[in-house]
Subunit: 268 residues, 2 copies
C-alpha cells in the first residue's frame, strides 16, 4: 500500500504538459482538500515532468477557488529553461476553470560559500518528550501529521486575545514517510492560521497565496528521512480581511530546510 | 514631464490582455533594468486592466532571463474572478520568449477586526537627521531612490564577514512621488543583496523569485504621500548558490505597508 500522501500526489500524464489527478479523502479539509497537498500536487507535476531540470528553489501557489472532491487537471509548463535554472507556470483546473495557479523556479545547485543566518531555537525540547496533539473534531488532514507543540505553545482556543501569534512545533507525516520536496511543500502549509492563535478562537479563513522557498537540496532532505521537522511560525499584521504568516522549517539537527510565507483571507 | 517611474511603467494596451512597454534608462541595473521596476510593470498591467477588481494583496514575479534594453510585451490575464478576489497570471516576453513570469491576487477589502503584530523599530532615527547614501559607481536605478541607512547599518564593502545581514533604511522615490501600489512593489526590491552585507563584498547575484504582500490599502498609501518609508531587511540562509531575503516596509508613522520575500542566485 502506498502512503496516503503518495496516493494524493498521484498524477497521470495526459501529454502536452497536462496531468490528471484527484483529491484524496485522507487530506480533506473543512471545504475541499488541504491546501498544502494542493501545493504539493502542483509542485509534483513539475517534479515528474520529463523536461525537469534540477530541484525546486521557489514555489508560489495561489488558491483561486475551493476544490470540489474528485478529479482535477494540472498543467505544468516549463516556460523558460536556462543553463542552470528552469521556470514553470502551473495551473490546476476543475471543470475547465482555474482553481489554483502558481509558478516554480527549479535550479541545478552547485557548491559555493554557504552560511546559515537564522538560529535554530536552542530551547525547543526534543519531539520524543512532547505529547502529540490530539485531533478531536479537527479536519482529516490534521491526522495525517504528527504535531508536537512546544510547551505552552499549542493554540488555545479559549477566546482570549494573545499578544502575539508565534508558535513552534515538531511535525512529520503520519504514518512516517521519508521527506522529499513535495512533502516539505505540503508541510509549509501545516501551521494553524495565525488569527486562530492571536485571537484565541477560530474564524473563517482561506489562504490566497502561498510561497515556499527551498533552502535544502535533495541530499539534505534524504538525510532527514522520516524524523520530525521543527516549524516556527508567526504573523506580522492583520488588516481589513487579510493577514500574513511566515514560518521556518528546520531539520532536527538544525539545518534550515524551507521558509514559507502566505497571505490569508479572514472574516470576523 | 512625468516622473521617470511613471515613464518606466507606461504600458500601451494591445488587446487580448496584452500591453506593450519598454525599459527606461533611468532604472537601468548592471545588466538590464532594475528588477523592482520589472515587478512594478507586471503589477501595473493588472492595475490598469479594464477587468481589474480591488487592490493587490499578493504579487510574485520570477525573473527568468535578463531583459535587453528596449521594448517588451506584458500579458496580464485574469484567470479567475470571484465575488471579492481576482487571480492573475502575468508574463513578460521579449522576442517571443518569457523573460519574467508571475501571479497576483487582488481583492476588495472590507472592515474587520484588525491588529498589528510586528513592531516598528522604536530606535530608528528620523530620516531628516540622516545622510543620503551617495551613489558613486552604483547602477543608475539606485539614484532613483533616496536611501538613508540607520547609523552603522549601511553596507560596508570592506571584505570583512559580518555576523548577520540585518539593516534598516529610509527610502523614497527620487525625485519624490506619491506612493502607490506599483511604487511600493518596486521598493520591495530595493534592498542590497544580503550576501553583499553578510560577506562585506559584492558578488554576482540575480533574484529568481520575488514575492510582495500588500498589507496597506489604497487609503494608507495615499496617507503616506511622498514621505520616506522604513525598510528592514534580513536573510535567513545562504546555501549552494541561493539565499533568501525578507523585508518589512513601514510608513513613517509605524503602519506596516508591505512585507516581501525573495530567493536570490549567487556565485562565489
Amino acid at each position: 500500500m502506498p502512503h496516503d500522501f503518495d496516493a494524493a500526489l498521484r498524477l497521470a500524464p495526459q501529454g502536452d504538459h497536462r496531468f490528471a489527478g484527484a483529491t484524496h479523502p485522507a487530506y480533506a479539509n473543512m471545504v475541499g482538500p488541504y491546501g498544502g497537498v494542493t501545493a504539493a500536487v502542483l509542485l509534483n507535476a513539475a517534479l515528474q515532468h520529463p523536461q525537469r531540470l534540477g530541484d525546486p528553489i521557489a514555489l508560489t501557489v495561489n488558491f483561486a477557488a475551493p476544490l470540489a472532491d474528485g478529479g482535477f487537471e494540472v498543467e505544468a509548463r516549463p516556460v523558460r529553461t536556462n543553463r542552470s535554472t528552469q521556470h514553470w507556470q502551473l495551473t490546476l483546473t476543475q471543470g475547465g476553470e482555474a482553481a489554483a495557479t502558481g509558478t516554480a523556479v527549479f535550479a541545478a545547485r552547485r557548491d559555493t560559500w554557504s552560511a546559515p543566518e537564522a538560529e535554530f531555537p536552542a530551547d525547543m525540547p526534543a519531539a520524543a518528550g512532547l505529547a502529540r496533539l490530539s485531533g478531536g473534531g479537527a479536519p482529516p488532514w490534521t491526522q495525517r501529521y504528527d504535531m508536537r507543540f512546544a510547551p505552552g505553545e499549542a493554540p488555545r482556543l479559549d477566546g482570549r486575545l494573545q499578544p502575539h501569534s508565534r508558535s513552534r512545533l515538531w511535525v512529520r507525516d503520519e504514518p512516517p514517510r521519508p521527506l522529499d520536496f513535495a512533502s516539505l511543500a505540503a508541510i509549509c502549509d501545516c501551521f494553524f492560521p495565525r488569527i486562530f492563535v492571536r485571537r484565541g478562537q477560530p474564524a473563517p479563513i482561506g489562504t490566497v497565496s502561498l510561497t515556499c522557498f527551498f533552502h535544502a537540496d535533495a541530499a539534505l532532505l534524504a538525510a532527514q528521512g522520516e524524523r520530525h521537522l521543527l516549524g516556527c511560525a508567526r504573523g506580522l499584521n492583520f488588516r481589513r480581511g487579510y493577514f500574513d504568516q511566515s514560518a521556518e522549517v528546520w531539520s532536527d539537527d538544525g539545518q534550515l530546510l524551507a521558509s514559507t510565507h502566505q497571505m490569508v483571507y479572514y472574516r470576523e
